[in-house]
Amino acid sequence: MSTLRRLFRGWLAIVLLAGIGPLRAELAEEYELKAAFLYNFALFTHWPGETAEPFTLCLYGPHRFGDALRQLDGKTVHDIPLSLQFPQTAQEARTCQVLFFNPDAVPRAAELLEALRAAPVLTISDHPVAWPMGTMIVLAVDPQRVVFDINTRRARQAGLDFSAKLLRLARTVH
């Protein structure tokens, strides 16, 4: 019986706790957060030469961003209007400044990355399998927040530079 009484006391403490607690929280949906990261990655990356207009942020293949992409409407990157594109083929994907892809959902993702090796395309994914393929930035859920790893060697080959701030906030820098 005392066990039950203790459990009930615990419960009461909790309910009170949940009632008074909650005053500071920065929370977001996973893909809203990931979309905001995508945009920030573009802001904190430097492309070689003149950036083409508009600035193309591409999502290649099926993705789960849904309504979260609305945040990117009307945004600019380095003063150039941002344009969201949804390439259907690997050929189209090569013309993007930022390319987000799911390696499990597009055919021959590894070959695409190989082909893009020297092209100034910032490659991003949120699947760990994309990392060994040579993707420049890979997002991960950790599981309470979103973190990212950066492959600077691959970026350098493509002529891309990341700001110190981006490198500082990365989980790992390779």
Binding site: T3, R6, L7, F8, R9, G10, L12, A13, I14, V15, L17, A18, G19, G21, P22, L23, R24, A25, E26, L27, A28, E29, E30, E32, L33, A35, A36, F37, N40, F44, Q71, L72, K75, D104, A110, E111, E114, D126, P128, V129, W131, P132, M133, G134, A140, V141, D142, P143, Q144, R145, V146, V147, T152, L166, L169, A170, R171, T172, V173, H174
Partner: protein, 661 residues
């Protein structure tokens, strides 16, 4: 009373919905994005223990549990034992020297955690004499240096080989960048407990990371512990005075650059034995154990072309153990010296569409597996030098049959000299039935070879108390498990797992008719169990978790095993407070009654409350109360004790100050 509850609940939900979620996230500075918590449960959590490489939780063959550094801080966990016992279906017993993990209803007293495999940053960590893993203050890492703990319940031998019978624990350490500067931390707690830690961590411009840390810990323990079993004249009224001390010094260093990772760790831990175990003289201050572990590991990860991921590891480890056991006529010294090095090569291939193949080989050269037992200046009872080499090969394919259906097929062959060879398959189906529902069906076997202690800690005449058994064999377990993960709402997760396993030839200590102890492949056991858990994240940042586990683990005679609770329930809630760095965490763990060696050990409820506060930008103060209701509870112990159960600590507190520079 019950009629009033809904009103509390109402205010709870009203409050929860009042808090606003951030508007346009793209306007937030990058730092804040990195600090923004997820309002919903993600099927995309990165886990690396189920397949030996990083993958998404929804794709993993097993439902891997993750505890993060943030959880450790929020709930004020002081040891790995406290981290693990927060998980559904996991319990920990303590005999006032070591901590023992119970998984799936299995934790027979007298067993040294040889049936769960522990990895530190992916490197096998069980030592090579008892195959034990350490969970308490004898664990090699200060818990503050742990980035996350992954736990995969169920058989793991198809990937990990020996010892991965009931689960795999993978402790992942922090990196230099996680500290980003120097840290000094000091804490003071009940039972005269002091801990001090100094750490430094940094990431350099080239991406290289360095972390260095050292910790000193000293717990004097209760002034006196009363054992009614020894409350007879001439035994100090059954009071053991000042014998529950626990002290350790530990150090950790880690360097990483690109795919290369080097790390080293060391611990030396002294523990007094207040329980007069192994028939010792009661309240004798000479009774104590010393455990030391040393660990150096190098891991390397590189890619060959776009489809080949290659991993290599090399490690060297040592284990020292000195036990002083006090008897009226002699001081008995028990010694174990383990030294080994090992390596592993693994390739992961993604050339074939819809297939993820991984192959590997692992070996371990046990340079030393020495045991001795003697009276100081007197008779030698055990003198058993030994060395051995063991190895294993494994392969696994994760084959996407359909977009939403993945087949996992893998197997591993192992050779361990003391048990011979063993082959263990794993077959699994992961079905993403709906966007919000994942089903898993897993079949697998696992094994454990007799360890050096079970095989060689004896003498033919039985003077050590133990007699040899040259025909000791591998023990095996065969498991079938069905798992369900469902998102009731994006912020409400439900999990259910139903398992059945049969263990065969479990290596058990038995007493022969002549009174000598001998290890035999004895019991078969059959177990069924259910683990259910639910989690909710409120919009205001409050997170709650509730879990319940039911298990029935029976031996050949149909009796429930000792130290096997049938019921376990756990409740966790934490909340951010008004300012950044302020959190409140509360947990309640219920463990049902367990069968002890002689008598039933009562169930108990333990709660703890932890407040984290940040008074200054670079100073965190944490205050915690443990065993909040001051429950008088005990854990069952084995036949090396006179006692049926060993009582545990009552209410205590901890204050911890951490400064960052």
């Amino acid at each position: 009373m019950s009629r009033r509850l809904p009103r509390y609940l109402y205010s709870l939900f009203a409050c929860a919905s009042a808090a606003a979620v951030a508007g346009d996230l793209t306007d937030l500075p990058l730092e804040e994005l990195s600090n923004t918590g997820l309002a919903t449960f993600s099927p995309n959590v990165e886990v690396s223990t189920a397949a030996k490489y990083a993958q998404l939780s929804a794709e993993a063959p097993a439902a891997v549990r993750v505890v993060t550094a943030q959880d450790i801080k929020t709930y004020g966990y002081r040891t790995l034992a406290e981290v693990l016992r927060s998980l559904p279906g996991v319990y920990v017993s303590h005999d006032r020297n070591y901590s023992y993990l119970g998984v799936r209803g299995f934790s027979p007293p007298g067993d040294y955690n040889a049936r769960v495999l522990m990895l530190v940053d992916g490197v096998r960590f069980n030592e090579n004499i008892y195959d034990s893993l350490s969970l308490g203050h004898d664990f090699i890492l200060d818990i503050d240096l742990v980035e996350r703990v992954e736990f995969m319940p169920g058989p793991g031998s198809a990937l990990y080989g020996n010892n991965a019978l009931f689960g795999v624990v993978n402790v992942i350490t922090k990196r230099g960048a996680s500290l980003d500067g120097a840290e000094l931390s000091g804490d003071y707690g009940g039972f005269d407990t002091y801990k001090a830690r100094g750490s430094f961590g940094r990431r350099f411009d080239n991406g290289a990371e360095l972390l260095l840390s050292a910790t000193g810990f000293d717990r004097e323990g209760p002034d006196r512990l009363h054992f009614k079993e020894f409350d007879t004249p001439g035994r100090n009224g059954g009071n053991a005075v000042g014998l529950d001390f626990d002290r350790y010094q530990s150090a950790f260093g880690k360097f990483s650059l690109g795919g290369l990772n080097l790390e080293s760790a060391y611990i030396s831990r002294d523990k007094g034995i207040p329980t007069a175990s192994f028939g010792q003289a009661f309240n004798d201050p000479r009774s104590a154990t010393l455990d030391q572990r040393g660990f150096v590991a190098m891991t390397y990860n590189t890619q060959w072309g776009p489809a080949w991921d290659f991993r290599a590891r090399l490690d060297y480890q040592r284990y020292w153990y000195d036990g002083d056991y006090a008897y009226p006529d002699a001081l008995n010294r028990d010694v174990a010296r383990g030294e080994w090095w090992g390596g592993e090569l693994q390739v992961i291939n993604t050339s074939f569409e819809d297939h993820r193949l991984s192959f590997g080989g692992e070996w371990q050269d046990n340079l030393q597996q020495f045991q001795s037992n003697r009276d100081v200046g007197g008779a030698v009872f055990v003198d058993a030098p030994y060395n051995s080499v063991r190895y294993g090969f494994y392969g696994e394919d994760q084959f996407r049959l359909l977009d939403e259906l993945t087949l996992i097929a893998g197997a591993r062959y192992d050779y361990v000299p003391l048990g011979g060879s063993s082959a263990n398959p794993r077959l699994g189906l992961v079905w993403q039935a709906r966007e919000d529902t994942t089903l898993r069906l897993n079949y697998g076997t696992a094994f454990r070879a007799p360890n050096t202690f079970e095989r060689f800690y004896n003498d033919p005449a039985g003077n050590s108390g133990y007699k040899p058994n040259a025909s000791l064999n591998n023990e095996t377990v065969e498991t079938l498990e069905l798992g369900l993960q469902h998102l009731l709402t994006p912020a409400t997760r439900l999990g259910l797992s139903v398992y059945h396993y049969e263990a065969d030839g479990l290596i058990s200590q038995t007493a022969d008719a002549d009174g000598f102890l001998i290890y035999r492949n004895l019991d078969g056991i059959k177990a069924v169990g259910v683990e259910a858990d639910g989690e909710h994240r409120f919009k205001n940042g409050v997170r709650t978790r509730l879990s319940y586990a039911w298990q029935e683990t029976r031996d050949d005679t149909g009796a429930i095993l000792t130290n096997s609770p049938q019921h376990m329930a756990k409740f966790h809630i934490d909340s951010p407070l008004w300012r950044e760095g302020w959190t409140l965490g509360f947990d309640t763990l219920y463990l049902g009654s367990r069968q002890g060696r002689l008598d039933t050990v009562d169930g108990h409820v333990l709660s703890s409350l932890t407040l984290n506060s940040r008074w200054l930008e670079n100073a965190d103060l944490s205050a915690g109360v443990y065993n909040l209701w001051n429950a008088h509870y005990a854990d069952p112990v084995g036949s090396e004790f006179v006692q049926n159960e060993i009582f545990q600590d009552g209410r205590s507190f901890r204050l911890k100050l951490t400064l960052r520079f």
